[in-house]
Symmetry: C2
Amino acid sequence: MSAPRQISRLLYRRSLISGSRRSTPTPMFKSPSLSVRHGSHLPPRSNQFTQPTKEHLDALKAISSSTLSTLDGSATEEELRSFNDDWMNKYHGKGSIVVKPKTTEEVSEVMKYCYDNGIAVVPQGGNTGLVGGSNPVHDEIILNLSNLNQIRSFDEVSGVLVADGGVILETADHFLAEKGFIFPLDLGAKGSCHIGGNVSTNAGGLRLLRYGSLHGSVLGLEVVLPDGRIWNGLSKLRKDNTGFDIKQLFIGSEGTIGIITAISILCPRRPSAMNVAVFSLESYEAVQKVFAEAKGHLGEILSAFEFFDKQSYALVKKHQEENGGERKVFETEGDFYCLIETGGSNAEHDEAKLTGLLEHLMENEMVLDGVLAQDSTQFQSLWSLRELVPESAGKAGSVYKYDVSVPVGKMYGLVEKMRAKLREGGVLEGDGKSEGPIRAVAGYGHMGDGNLHINIVANKYTDEIEKIVEPYIYEIVAENEGSISAEHGLGVMKAPYIGYSKNETSIELMKQIKQLFDPKGLLNPYKYIV
Amino acid sequence: MSAPRQISRLLYRRSLISGSRRSTPTPMFKSPSLSVRHGSHLPPRSNQFTQPTKEHLDALKAISSSTLSTLDGSATEEELRSFNDDWMNKYHGKGSIVVKPKTTEEVSEVMKYCYDNGIAVVPQGGNTGLVGGSNPVHDEIILNLSNLNQIRSFDEVSGVLVADGGVILETADHFLAEKGFIFPLDLGAKGSCHIGGNVSTNAGGLRLLRYGSLHGSVLGLEVVLPDGRIWNGLSKLRKDNTGFDIKQLFIGSEGTIGIITAISILCPRRPSAMNVAVFSLESYEAVQKVFAEAKGHLGEILSAFEFFDKQSYALVKKHQEENGGERKVFETEGDFYCLIETGGSNAEHDEAKLTGLLEHLMENEMVLDGVLAQDSTQFQSLWSLRELVPESAGKAGSVYKYDVSVPVGKMYGLVEKMRAKLREGGVLEGDGKSEGPIRAVAGYGHMGDGNLHINIVANKYTDEIEKIVEPYIYEIVAENEGSISAEHGLGVMKAPYIGYSKNETSIELMKQIKQLFDPKGLLNPYKYIV
């Protein structure tokens, strides 16, 4: 086999891009006075819940000293804003009390009190969710877990980590890195999100392809139930077949049936060798072909396969330009890009496998251009091309974010249908980048998991746009037997649309489960299953 | 690094052993008249259930033509025995009707009829369980799924297999092998057990270390609920966060809240290179050290790490001798043995990693002797040393089988405590191999999962022995915060002992879940959560 023309350039060329891997999402457009009201389907306040008063506040303060409120002036409305608003500044609660318990027992006492008094509660982790699931809809008390932030134990033989729910994902991963292990989940918001929130939303993220779902890696949970009882299911065992696996119900329950105060999770060894390469390609078909080749050549060391379109890349480039970052990454740009990450235990073997793949791709002209990271700075830089997409979209306007899963072959067709629909509705010009009410429609996501993100960047949130997009997006997902929420969850945003992904029997069973755990409906109301 | 003395012999020596990998468990000691009555804790028949009559039989025959019964002479008691008795011949039901529906709709109709008439039902797959979970306790109708045995679809892009619950595990794996994929579960009973049964018992088996739990790999289920409703949760999506993950409740529910009629499961690519090596070692401490080294050297290609003690090996040797197999495997035998399997995508890389490990182990005298399989026959032969342990124990006597999980470091201590207890009780002589009422106490299992199997081989099942062993075994597991059932489940055998592994809140929640799904308590009664 003769060495192809471009390989040496590809393999040894230094990446020119700048920009680091942003792991802390920064809230955007937080204008104190002018937030666009939208989301006409938000449900009205329910009279079944007690309105929190100064008397309740005093009782809660007696339970947990770290309690803030506008009711007694211990906090201003402004100070409570970051607890009441969501990360996108799309959903705005009116909670007047924030409780930040320091122990599981305090969480339990708070819940007992609220249960006895019929007060609704929204559990809150890092508040980085994208469906309005972690901030109040009306005046729910905000039970924020950031003070529950201790690592409880780590077993270096088994790799089992036990930690409070309020530990920040990145903190947990840094702790594990020092021990030679890795948290089996990674996502853009890692610098802010809590591991308890990750579990309660069943976060997917960037390396699900390799490490699988939290339903497989979470071994145990400690949960405060709606009535305040503490459920200790904090097993450290990899295998335990003694009755219904109750913890599974809490994974992905979005804080509607219990508050996760601690998790026990199986952490794999950290790969000693890691590589990342990014390619430009001419079509979505080419991305699919490269995905198949990557699986074949890289086998067990393939740890991520991400893709993004030229509209996504344009957003990132613009964002990097505005922040003084250099731009030139590819000599030949394409309509699509894919990122391949490997993680293995032997650098030499991994490099051989990756070189084999690269040679094959170049020889067969399956990619237009490619860049391979040569060091850890470049590793982060290349990842940032993919990871900065949501942040860059946010900087460019008000973003309608959709997160769906459909069979891999049908993923990009949804983006094209969405653009056609928006053009038809007169809010989009051209191919997804325009000066109209919609500035860009970007598609990207986790190829390996069939998980597509569509970001519709608008000048502002309007009911007009929302009506064009929803429920159309859910209809085309349902046509493909997909999920209207692959990893973001339902929250308040998608609660009304669950019928597009779940049948009546499922929804009936879910309502019964909610009723069983939370008969008063106090935990995270107005959301999820309504 | 100089090549150690024994390496070349170890690497290139041909294995001398015979014996193939037995995947079909053969029932043993099926004496039609003399089965020892034991298990004094078996609950009495409940009067809340209707006793099946000829009239019920006629109605069921009208629903499913494949219905057998002693009530109308369409079957003899002898013919129903294999449905009524468990695999170990330890538990004996008295069911007079066996229904074998051919479609999900037939299952639904049968359940509707039984629900309306208050008739108890035991769902049955391959009936290979080890806790008396899949045969009747009294006169429950046996709903056997062996006629529901079609593969419904397979997607070669995603690796998602959809198949009826009654497909035999080995059949599914052979089907997948032809496509270059592997079923993410393997266990000794693969030639008989059903994939629906595997899911409903959350089977663990031999490669959980590599492919993880079914809670992670099962993507969807089709389930007939106790009242006959069909719940279609047969998603093919890897990610779907739209409400409570209901399917998780059925995984490991042992047929108590629904009958799994089809599964959708994510199947990985079949490794193109596989290796297996077996070592003799002088102590359990040495096994633990080799385990740590194997994880370090083999990383992502380690697919199984099993261990067994000399008592286990003696049982296998005796069984092989009696079947004319040759015996000499190790030049130096040890008190312990471990089996290491690798599976990867590049034979050359895998061999290099494995050679690195073997050289390290030999140089540092961490093992006494070792054999590496040179071809697929030897691969099967070496696996049989481990896989034949349960069958060999069964041939040697009546076996009390325990399946527990505790932290890896404490696993073998349980075997030693058990022997001491039996010696103290006067039923065991020597070190676990004697001529007394107990013939052998063997310990083996899945090191990688902290899962220990203790097989106590007795001349016959007696209440005396049972009283010495139980609940002592569960007490010492509970002391170590372990599970009294790592992978076998609760069934009728361990139902009374769940309190050793689960707290009151857990059991209360489980009872509520059972009540929610099966308010009449008709499905698989007397078992699991009682």
